[in-house]
Symmetry: C2
Subunit: 442 residues, 2 copies
């Protein structure tokens, strides 16, 4: 008899790597937080025993979803100001609310609310960009969820730091603290080309070479961003980053709705990643990212929800579906961005964009057991001709039944094992009362 | 003490008519299937008593959602062939499967599965177009859900009818049978300009004048449809329908992704309705319907999911969200299609497109009690600054807790009171086994 700590018998296992594969009636063994075996259930039942065994008879096991771009704490600003022109939304609602309210406690409560929502919808890893990243790191580590925490950087002072030197000092201290943490890693997170000047960007370029960390940045989000860059610097933002040596395999360029064909080739040749955020791009009227063109060129395209203030959820299943639907019409081809590719973008491509491609993002022996179980037995997924198609096109977040992060069973039959939902909701309502009073004054 | 059969106390009542209104801590009284009062809960608790009282302390009561375009029975073909070119999908998968499998039993089981999904996601009325409409009518009446059943019409023979005369004879008999039914009404449903020739369309025009029924038709779904019409008849499809006298307040034109400004004015001037199906249009790469332009011109724009073979769900909450997000980028304005407007399209505009604007689609005294309760207390909807924003941008179908159709409590705490989910799932799987065997042979 072979033994294992945990053995999960599933109707389907969709490993993502190898691509386009669906294993029916297969089981996954977990030991010391990692996947120790993937084998036919018949064989597992016959010759394996485990301390914990789970039967998921109408479920698909997929790699935990990787949300490659969010601002977790902004969940506390979810829905505060929708259906407004972008600049009205930012200048009259979001920025004033942040200036007034962002604090360590805000980031703690907002990130914890976000982590609960992400785990309940099958996300096991998120790439964050926000102030007080040390608080987000602490919340993720105790959450329990995998996080790539952005070392936020802007030119101007905020409640978090006074100037670029201060942002770097705090960020590098955080990176040192979590250097060997199993769940948390860091990325440089210069906010955007229009909020960070050349000197600090050069320093990011030097440091990312030394530390081999991803560079997580908003890029080519809107046409006006590109126009203003050309007017101010003579260069499109991507060209400016290239001149600064930042267009490299470490680059995770978020949004990219404005792209010329030579820029697509440049991204492919440099091994950069693009993080596609379709729902945020739609809601803020930013434009359409040419996803299929990027994929055809060989660019690693990941998927993110963006913050809940511009989405308004952190549901990667929904984001996958929106990405797959939208790409078809943007490309003018109903065969564009098929279901398997959408799932790969939401898992392995995301992990690769965060430099975690060897650790998570697919169900492979030796990788962390970051696993999401989706119940495809729901009425809304019947009949079921193709499990990957039902996963992407019919599954709702409520069909996520169980989630494991590094082998820890953090969502058990829809119940979070590390977080108290009622307490989170109460604290969110406390912030709502205070923030709404402030917002209505404007 | 005033008395009532049913009294529902809710945190919010969103009546849709008047527009942009949210009533906090209000109650709805139901008598003889209709809304008999809408009043402050404080007053209701003090001076009303009811046989049945319900407290929905963190819920929003909205008009039951109106799915203004679907092919309910096609739920049995959900996901059979995704991510294919449109013609490959139709000619090699959908049409052969229909020719082989469509029967009264197929329509019965498929429509019942669809009705269960629609009620579970808050839809209380659907506009159907499929073969054997008498079966759909029977299923809806017993379901219990409100339906506008399309009297399907195509030039060619199908398992349902042999020729246009046969389609008309069967359709008119169905209309006579349900003429006074409280839940079921009929519409003429010529499939599309390219499947119905002038003679039968002229007969539809004469009959719709006599019977005052809606004319439910696919129109300007794709650019090639319009091009082929111009090549074959010299006219764009809308112009051809106009020449036949069919562009009128009875017209419910579905899809309309290809529209010139003068056509938008023509639709507005004629009082026609457009049924927008954003997820189907995206998935089949049909194009973008200029929704905000249509609304600005004064066109009544409703919302539909289309069939589950091209969506792949019948979730009107999700469709509302997709419509609101997509319209912003299509218009290039983040303030386009705000949440209140999306809700109105999914309710009252749909009812008006079906000629039911005086009977359902808004929460008004005297209208049928077609009501959906959405639980906005879920973690995914916190914090809550604006209930309509959370309803449209954060609510999932799983937050639909209760549904009433003509005062009947058909969904009670997520449980269907008239349909057996397990039985529906079993029958769907039976069809899946038979149909998949047939499909794989091709």
């Amino acid at each position: 008899m072979k033994t294992s700590e945990t053995l999960i018998h599933a109707r389907w296992v969709i490993p993502v790597e190898p691509d386009n594969q669906v294993l029916e009636y297969h089981s996954i063994a977990i030991d010391e937080g990692r996947i120790s075996a993937i084998l036919p259930t018949a064989e597992a039942r016959q010759s394996w025993q485990a301390r914990v065994t789970l039967d998921l008879g109408c479920h698909a096991l997929i790699p935990g979803l990787v949300n490659a771009h969010t601002h977790a704490a902004m969940t506390l600003l979810r829905g505060i100001a929708d259906d407004l022109h972008l600049m009205d939304w930012l200048q009259n609602h979001i920025w004033p609310a942040e200036q007034r309210w962002v604090s360590e406690q805000f980031v703690h409560d907002g990130t914890q609310l976000a982590v609960a929502e992400m785990l309940r919808s099958g996300t096991t890893c998120f790439n964050d960009m926000y102030f007080f990243p040390e608080v987000a790191a602490r919340v993720a580590a105790s959450g329990t969820i995998r996080a790539c925490v952005g070392l936020i950087l802007v030119d101007f002072p905020t409640p978090y730091a006074d100037n670029p030197d201060d942002y770097f000092a705090k960020g590098l201290a955080l990176h040192d603290e979590y250097r060997h943490h199993p769940l948390v890693r860091c990325a440089f997170a210069p906010h955007a080309p229009y909020t960070v000047s050349d000197e600090p960007l050069k320093r990011v370029q030097v440091l990312t070479g030394e530390l081999d960390l991803p560079v997580h940045i908003h890029l080519h989000e809107t046409a006006s961003e590109v126009q203003e860059s050309v007017a101010g610097t003579g260069l499109r933002p991507l060209a400016r980053l290239d001149a600064l040596g930042l267009v490299s395999p470490n680059l995770a360029a978020v949004h990219m709705t404005q792209l010329q064909d030579e820029e697509i080739r440049q991204l492919a040749d440099s091994g950069s990643s693009v993080v596609h955020c379709p729902e945020s791009n739609l809601k803020l009227a930013s434009g359409f990212c040419p996803v299929q063109k990027l994929l055809d060129a060989g660019v690693n395209v990941a998927l993110g929800t963006d913050g809940a203030a511009s989405n308004n959820d952190l549901d990667m299943l929904g984001e996958m579906r929106t990405a797959a639907l939208l790409a078809k019409t943007v490309r003018g081809d109903a065969s564009a961005l098929p279901a398997h590719t959408a799932l790969r973008m939401a898992t392995l491509n995301g992990a690769r964009a965060l430099g975690l491609g060897d650790e998570t993002g697919s169900l492979e022996v030796g990788k962390w057991a970051d696993i999401t179980a989706v119940d495809l037995g729901a009425l809304e997924s019947q009949p079921l001709y193709n499990p990957v198609s039902q996963l992407v096109y019919t599954s709702g977040r409520e069909q996520v039944s169980d989630v494991w992060v590094a082998g820890q069973h953090v969502l058990k039959k829809r119940q979070l094992t590390h977080l108290d939902v009622q307490d989170l909701v109460q604290r969110a309502r406390g912030w709502q009362t205070r923030i709404a009073a402030g917002d209505s004054k404007r």
